[in-house]
């Protein structure tokens, strides 16, 4: 009996240990806790595979940038069950950035991280008084969303990033998100909202268990927007790595969009005018002033990429001189 008990204990300890280190995370849904934070981030396991990305050439309701439809293959990954909320995002914006807040220097080195820097606190209320706490965070730049992922990675020792455009569409299509019989059940959009976003997770999840993929807030993905990208994109894990500040891709549509705009293939793009009320030059690297409809969710690849590959995801900042 005694031996048996000890074995059980050891087994439990081992499980806890492995779960904490993350490398041997079973490929199933899990909750990512953050040390010192109240909230955790729910992650949904998504088995990769082949799918047809984009809209069919016969679908005249879809834009040319959604065509041609082409075969794409994505690897296994986890994706956030919900959009990142204000309480999750503010932990980053208003967090401490001393080395004691993060994993060891050696550990961060393996994740391609030399330093972690925080967003400048906003001068105004970036929620536009639409709600905080478990409402989705909005108005952050894509760079800020990526830096959130870097911060999250540094805190947890687990590599997180934004989804690629392909991964996002895969989750949307595989979860049959836009095949819901009544969109009102699965999404917040112009016709169903009170001119604002709503708390995450109030609507029914898609078939994979992911909430609010369509509507509520549009979501940053990792890609540069290029209307012609589908003509030449690679089959395996495509990613149009950004080299220009604008436009970059957002997906899913938001509370501002009408129902007909909500679709797994619709491609949104960032605009300079999303910073038009930023009175300073250079404009903020961290905040949009006019994008209260853009947020994000995070992704974790099942197989952690090499340090060199991870580094390519921590995009360098491009100063915004607001040319238009």
């Amino acid at each position: 009996m005694k031996l048996n008990y000890s074995l059980k204990l050891v087994t439990i300890i081992c499980i806890i240990f492995y779960t904490k280190t993350g490398h041997t995370q079973n490929f199933e849904n899990y909750s990512q806790a953050l040390e010192g934070e109240k909230n955790s981030i729910e992650m949904i396991a998504v088995k990769g595979g082949d799918f047809l990305m984009g809209a069919s050439k016969n679908d005249t309701s879809r834009g040319n940038d959604e065509k041609p439809q082409h075969e794409v293959s994505v690897d296994d990954f986890w994706i956030g069950k919900y959009e990142i909320t204000w309480e999750q995002y503010d932990a980053f914006v208003f967090g401490e950035f001393g080395p004691e807040q993060f994993k060891s220097k050696d550990k961060l080195n393996t994740l391609g991280i030399d330093a972690v820097s925080g967003a400048t606190p906003p001068y105004v209320d970036m929620s536009f008084n639409m709600g905080k706490e478990t409402h989705p965070a909005v108005n952050m730049t894509q760079y800020a969303a990526i830096m959130y992922c870097k911060w999250l990675t540094s805190k947890t020792g687990v590599f997180y990033r934004l989804p690629t455009e392909a991964e996002w569409e895969y989750v949307c299509k595989k979860g049959k998100t836009d095949q819901a019989s009544d969109f009102k059940d699965i999404a917040w959009y112009n016709e169903t909202t009170n001119e604002k976003y709503e708390k995450t997770g109030l609507k029914t999840a898609n078939n994979l268990g992911v909430h609010d993929l369509l509507g509520n807030v549009s979501e940053w993905v990792m890609d540069q927007y290029d209307a012609d990208y589908y003509k030449s994109s690679q089959k395996n894990n495509p990613w149009n790595k950004p080299s220009e500040l604008y436009p970059r891709v957002v997906r899913g549509g938001s509370w501002k969009d009408t129902k007909d705009k909500l679709c797994c293939t619709a491609r949104g793009q960032s605009k300079q005018k999303w910073k038009r009320r930023d009175p300073q030059i250079p404009k903020s690297n961290w905040w949009h002033t006019n994008a209260p409809f853009v947020g994000f969710r995070v992704v974790r690849p099942k197989t952690q990429p090499s340090k060199e590959d991870i580094k390519t995801y921590w995009l360098t900042v491009i100063e915004d001189y607001g040319l238009n």
Binding site: D125, N129, R277, Q280, P282, N290, L323
Partner: protein, 442 residues
Amino acid sequence: MEQKKNNLSRRNFVKGSSLAAGGILLTPSLLTASPIFNKAKKLKLAVVGCGGRGTGAVSQALKADENIELVAMADAFEDRLEKAYTSLTKMFQTKKLNVKPSHKFVGFGSYKKAIDAADVVILTTPPGFRPQHFEYAISQGKHVFMEKPVATDVAGIKKVLEAAKVAKAKKLNVVVGLQRHYQSSYVETYNRIQKGDIGQIVSGQVYWNGSGVWVRPREANQTEMEYQMRNWYYFNWICGDHILEQHIHNIDVANWFIGGYPIKATGTGGREVRKGKDHGHIFDHHVVEFEYENGAIISSQCRHQPGTKHRVDESFQGTLGTSYSHGGSSAILKKYDGTKIYTHDSENDVNPYQQEHNRLFKSIRNGEVISDAENGAKSTMTAIMGRMATYSGKEITWDKAMALDHKLVPDEDTLTFDSVPPVVPDDNGNYPVPVPGKTNFI
């Protein structure tokens, strides 16, 4: 007054001498006199105060007019000036950037040379220095864009009000960076309130509750003056406290929509969270009640405390309905039964900061006059009155505040980086924080 006479007579002289005067046409006051030839005239722009906002304002001015060039820059610090210049070179062709090295003016008092070189000047230093810059620019017959607030003390307010009169007499355009006046959602709301859509305003709540701004740490070899000039936000004489520096926007909306300025103020405030040695002596929260002549009461809140609820907007209650306005999103007018009277979606509105300059330069070109300075001064004064109420804990009336001998800012022309600033730390490095009940109206 002597200055004013001279300028007026010079204008008359030039006007009489027509196009043949050639180079003399550079006198800006002439522009208002001969609009027909205005498009051909290249306008010279100078900026005084080259921070992020000054750089932003220059870029908007350069975009607002085809035939314009930046010719001079001034800042207390060379590094800030050069950073601004570098940013501008990334945005504009040399056609619009014509700042010779000899026209980059650095240090206290450098404003004069920059202003002298231009037809239109952008005044975007921290607010304590604004009255002196504005007074000089108007005395020299320049059109002005100046940021809010326009002063930090009553002496400065009086200087701006006086110069505002001179500007009107000289037909000089003055745009003040209270950009809500140039933002469609606010202008529409104002027009509808004027029309009586929500009746007469009886009360309102205005907010700038956020988490605060940057802190610039003290560096080795800095004099106390240089430290304060770098970390200016935390020093009342330079910044005016955040009730002026930020919250003026919302207080100004109350004045604008009500159509007047408060007769008195009471308030409470202090520093609870942001109270380190690197935070100078300003408060981190103020709550003020402003009373207007018609009996309307406005509650005003501003807070710089991370982790607290952020809110930056304005609500008003009228005899027939309510209005809600938010700089970023919307304006909504409603009846008390909840029926919507008006909703403004600002997504496609023109950038209000750009609109300020579009209007300024259009007005200059068409020989019209925009006169924002008086309201800029009086809304700044409203915020100063609020600050006096929270610092002292006493009731203050407009008339009493305006009658005070209240001067926080020294004559800039006498300052060097070795000068002793108006406020200095004690032996432990702490600055004297106002104490309600003990502190007078400062």
